[in-house]
Amino acid sequence: MNPLPLDLQLLNACASLLLLLSFSMLAQRRVVNLVNLLALQGALLCFATVLVALRTGQAHLYLSAALTLALKVIGLPLLLHRLIRRLGVYWDAEPVINPSGTMLIGLLIVVFSFGLAQPLAALASTATRSTLGIAIAVILLAFLAMITRRKAMSQVVAFLSMENGLFFGAMSATYGMPMVVELGVALDVLVAMLVLGVFFFQIREQFDSLDLHHLESLKEVE
């Protein structure tokens, strides 16, 4: 059996590490570390994009990688760190489900997404198609993290991690989306973060805390 070419091996390693990072984010309770993990995830995504760009020679992927680097590795983590310092949120509260339970659900999610990706990957013509399952898993794990977290900041980190997963998925299935769309998505993410920054200060001003417990008074029926 011939081993894969080196760049694909590296890409697979990247994908596996992304998956591992998703699990670490699921388990991590220090918000500062969570942001660092997010930055690391962004860096891996950037590296993977460069690998694919080198392989396929598509210029827009370099741009996409640069965008990822600027936004997700440097920009947003810095912004989030600053917010954390200014708002003084360092720890997340106990998660809604206990960690082992979360991990177990996480494993089931991985199995599910790998199953989901199988028929899709069979249709794809890209050399990177085998990592599609990991991309879906990253998306769904981020989703799980959003559900189980209580602090607004952790939810936001999970949300961004979901965005990372989406980008990785786009890359494994189709070598990325058209440039217009990627730029638009990046712009939206940036604006979302700015809106959030404003929002956090409003929440903090009102409640003196970023715990989402305070945001549970509106009920479906009164």
Partner: protein, 485 residues
Amino acid sequence: MELLLLLGTPVLGALVLWAFGAHRRAAELNVLFSATTFAAACALTVQVIARGPVLVLHEQFLIDAFNVFLVTLTAFVGLTTALFSRPYMRIEAEHGRVGAPRLRLYHSMYQLFTATMLVALTTNNLGLLWVAMEAATLSTVLLVTLYRTPASLEAGWKYFILCGVGIAQALFGTMLIYFAAERVLGAAGVTALLWTHLNAVKGQLEPAVLSLAFVFLLVGYGTKVGLAPLHNWLPDAHAEGPTPISAVLSGLLLNVAIYAVVRCKILVEGSLRSALPSQMMMGFGLVSVVLASLFLWRQRDIKRLFAYSSIEHMGIITFAFGMGGPVANFAALLHMTVHSLTKSAIFFAVGHAAQKAGTQLIDNIRGLLTLSPTVGWGLMLGSLAILGLPPFGVFASEFLILTTAMKQQPWATPVLLLALAIAFAAIFGKVQPMVFGDTEARRLPHPPALLPVFAHLAIVLLLGLYVPPYLAGWYRDAARLIGGP
């Protein structure tokens, strides 16, 4: 040209109002920009009627029979809401609920929101559609939290997170469509997300991928439509934001989200040649109708009450589009129009009523008729219209939908009828004492300006009695475009 004017005006408006939003005349400027947008929309409509579908700017923008009337509707309701918000926000400012910086934010974001909705409606690029939908959420989040009360912050947070998650699902769905299209349209990547190109080759797209894509798209955009069980954000956002925003959220944003779903449905149905998208839409629609009508009973806040009514009507529209076919599509399009007009009219009236009473609680608002006959009648007539009483337009569209359902999906008819009856009893029972009840409060010296309310209701009444032939032709073209099983 008209398109540039249409999209450029609100963007320019957002910039100008960001600079001068706190100015004394900012509200008038807001109206002016909205009026220009409406004029551009009318010009565009005339052009489309005269020359058929327009495809401009490297095929990135498409105006056809389906979206042109939505563009006009959006611009129109945008204009009337701007008219309504001028006195409304002034009174809010007098009451000290919003300061100058927040008014600036409000006006600027109002224009930006209009712009994002118009982009979402006119774009031919599914990716751009997504971007615009997300931008529409973002521009309204800070509007929902305008009052900075704990409840409004909670509503804003829910809105942001739920719609953010939903819209991420939609992005994945869009990605899957691109993935399927790339295999057919080639790896050039430029055309593979353009709706017109996709529509041309929809028969060749991989059905397995598209059905998965549709699940994600329906869940994603469905969250924005407010389909149950993804509707949690909707009542909160409507109840806690300023009333003009509730009006545009209910009247316009939900329409745009449905538009996105239907555009995707056309593609998926063409590829699948199966009833899966129809069934999913009918299922989500029915669940929304039933759940919303049940929740209507338990509401104590007048704006939440009508927010749930919006969920109910979105359910009806989704169900109708799900059934498909020329008649059901026609009825759904008509229903989109009349619901949008009626619901924004109701929110205008409710806004005034709540402002006068100083509360949004139904129990504390009584005797509107004595307090101010125009508000009272506006609310009463609006409620009767939205409940589907003849001769209003909502009756016509609901009647059409029900008769079609009886023919095509007989099992669903009793469910729909029952839900409508429950909703009728709930809303009527709550609105009636508000309007006719006794009150000790004195009659207000000045009747509020309710021109937009009665203008909207007049149009709805007109549509109930007589649909002008060119409008009917329009709907018919759009209905044919949407197709169905």
